[in-house]
């Protein structure tokens, strides 16, 4: 395997402390968000204030790490100023790029700050040459974060046809395959993942244990799953719930299973395919997760570039439900 480039390792940070851990653990870039609806991890007590962001960017830049600001939600009518203010802030703080999904936000950033680098969020859901070309030509997008629906041969083929960099998720959440378009949380709670930035808002989540130690997870009164005492639970998201459906006797995972993406075994192939950046999901996770996952992937990427063997079995303990998948990267029939 020969690789003309060294892919960037892009890591999550939900707090200033975890950002510093990501930087210290070998991240090439860290992505984070503000404490409002402008990003898709608008969770309680998470994310950074403008002051924290300023100090965090200073720390990252001092250590040679880039900071990417996630502004990857869709402004509802009449509320655009929250997003445009965030773009202004990102530019004033010398962020290395902003990650956008909405064409209005992209257009504002491109028009007002031609020097501000734009990345296209996975939330934009752009999997085709035509869609990506639209964003590169209209908004000068420099990098696209690919939806998790493409095989490696498809990624390789795509890379040869587009002018921008590509970024792929390699570890973490393996979400529903309609990113930026999912309305399941909205249906159950009235809040939107894509506009409010909250998938399964915590104030609607309830856990209950039965006498037999079965764990029930509920979202605003809807039962999402029930785990026996020998089963490992996952996140309380509707897309990863177990349901009764007409053609089956037992309840089953109708959309997705609670598990995580882990592409360690495909890393050399992804590098060969020309992927420019590898992204780790998990801004909502702890700094213990950040330290363990970032340092492991730093070592794995460096090892892969040196044609060494990669072993990432230890990361299984950090995966959702203690299960992992190669997802669509290996085959379209990943279930």
């Amino acid at each position: 395997m020969t690789s003309p480039h060294k892919p960037e390792l892009v890591c999550p940070a939900g707090t200033p402390a975890s950002l510093r851990v990501a930087v210290d653990s070998g991240a090439d870039a860290v992505y984070c968000g503000l404490q409002n609806a402008t990003n898709a991890r608008n969770f309680p007590g998470l994310n950074l204030t403008p002051y924290e962001l300023e100090k965090s960017i200073e720390y990252a830049h001092l250590n040679g790490t880039k900071v990417l600001i996630a502004l990857n939600t869709f402004p509802p009518a009449g509320q655009f100023s929250l997003w445009s203010d965030a773009v202004d802030l990102a530019h004033s703080l010398n962020a290395d790029a902003i990650i956008v999904a909405d064409i209005g936000v992209a257009n504002y950033a491109k028009s007002k700050y031609p020097d501000l680098r734009l990345h296209l969020s996975v939330q934009a859901g752009a999997p085709s040459i035509e869609a990506i070309k639209f964003y590169t030509e209209e908004f000068d997008v420099k990098r696209v974060v690919l939806p998790r629906i493409l095989t490696i041969p498809e990624i390789k083929s795509l890379k040869q046809e587009i002018s921008c960099e590509i970024e792929c998720f390699i570890f973490g959440n393996h979400g529903l395959m309609a990113e930026g378009r999912c309305s399941l949380t909205n249906y159950a709670t009235g809040l939107s993942t894509n506009m409010d930035g909250v998938c399964s808002p915590a104030n609607f989540v309830n856990y209950r244990v039965d006498a037999d130690q079965s764990l029930h997870t509920e979202l605003n009164g809807f039962t999402i799953d029930c785990f026996s005492c020998t089963q490992n639970p996952g996140y309380p998201t509707i897309c990863k719930g177990r349901y009764h459906v007409a053609h089956r006797e037992d309840s089953y995972y109708a959309f997705e299973e609670p598990l995580s993406l882990n592409l360690a075994s495909l890393l050399p192939d992804l590098i060969s395919a020309g992927v420019d950046a590898f992204k780790i999901e998990g801004r909502q996770r702890s700094k213990a997760y950040t330290q363990s996952v970032v340092s492991s992937w730093r070592k794995a990427i460096d090892t892969a570039l040196d044609h060494g063997a990669i072993n990432m079995d230890h990361l299984l303990s950090l995966t959702e439900g203690n299960k992992q998948t190669l997802g669509a990267y290996e085959t379209k029939r990943w279930r």
Partner: protein, 177 residues
């Protein structure tokens, strides 16, 4: 001291009965003195932590330590924070409950264990006000220095010694890291 060290390091700390027996004779006032002293020191140094708990300062958190004879109650009010131990038999109606073994909970506040991973293996359970718990988790996780380190350093040299033993014990056990 060597025997005590071996007791922890060999993982016997997970044996609930033994740990409960070891800690049962400790009088609650002594534990509460330690907790109150620690809380005052930590809050003084890290007052910014309360910013991530806005809207939940008045909430009460019951921290059930499954293998100790007592639980903890926390109210993160910046003006008058409370942290105290109570016997398990004493009923308490908390807004939010966090339940786990001593080493699991210690590993979390020590910044070595990921709370979500503990939840996935059911080493950690949460009930009640999920949003308040998420905020508390995020607030504690924003500390650069380990909360366990800060607490232990207030009782040098015994505190750091026991913390080191507990860390070695968790390394020898199957808790996600």
């Amino acid at each position: 001291m060597k025997i005590l060290s071996r007791f922890f390091v060999d993982g016997y700390i997970h044996k609930a009965k033994l740990l409960k027996q070891l800690t049962r004779p400790i009088p609650l006032p002594l534990i509460n003195y330690f907790l109150n002293f620690t809380l005052i020191k930590v809050v003084k140094k890290n007052s910014y932590l309360f910013n991530r708990l806005v809207g939940h300062h008045h909430k009460t958190f019951l921290i059930q330590i499954t293998n100790l004879p007592f639980d903890l109650v926390l109210q993160p009010n910046p003006n008058s924070p409370h942290l105290y131990a109570k016997r398990k038999a004493v009923k308490f109606d908390a807004d939010a409950t966090i339940s786990g073994s001593f080493l699991s909970l210690l590993g979390m506040i020590d910044g070595r264990f990921d709370g979500d991973a503990l939840f996935f293996t059911r080493d950690l359970q949460i009930f009640g006000d999920t949003e308040a718990i998420v905020c508390l988790r995020n607030a504690l996780d924003d500390m650069d220095k380990s909360l366990a380190d800060e607490a232990a350093s207030n009782f040098s040299p015994i505190g750091p010694y026991f913390l080191a033993m507990a860390r070695r014990a968790t390394k020898n056990n199957d808790i996600p890291s």
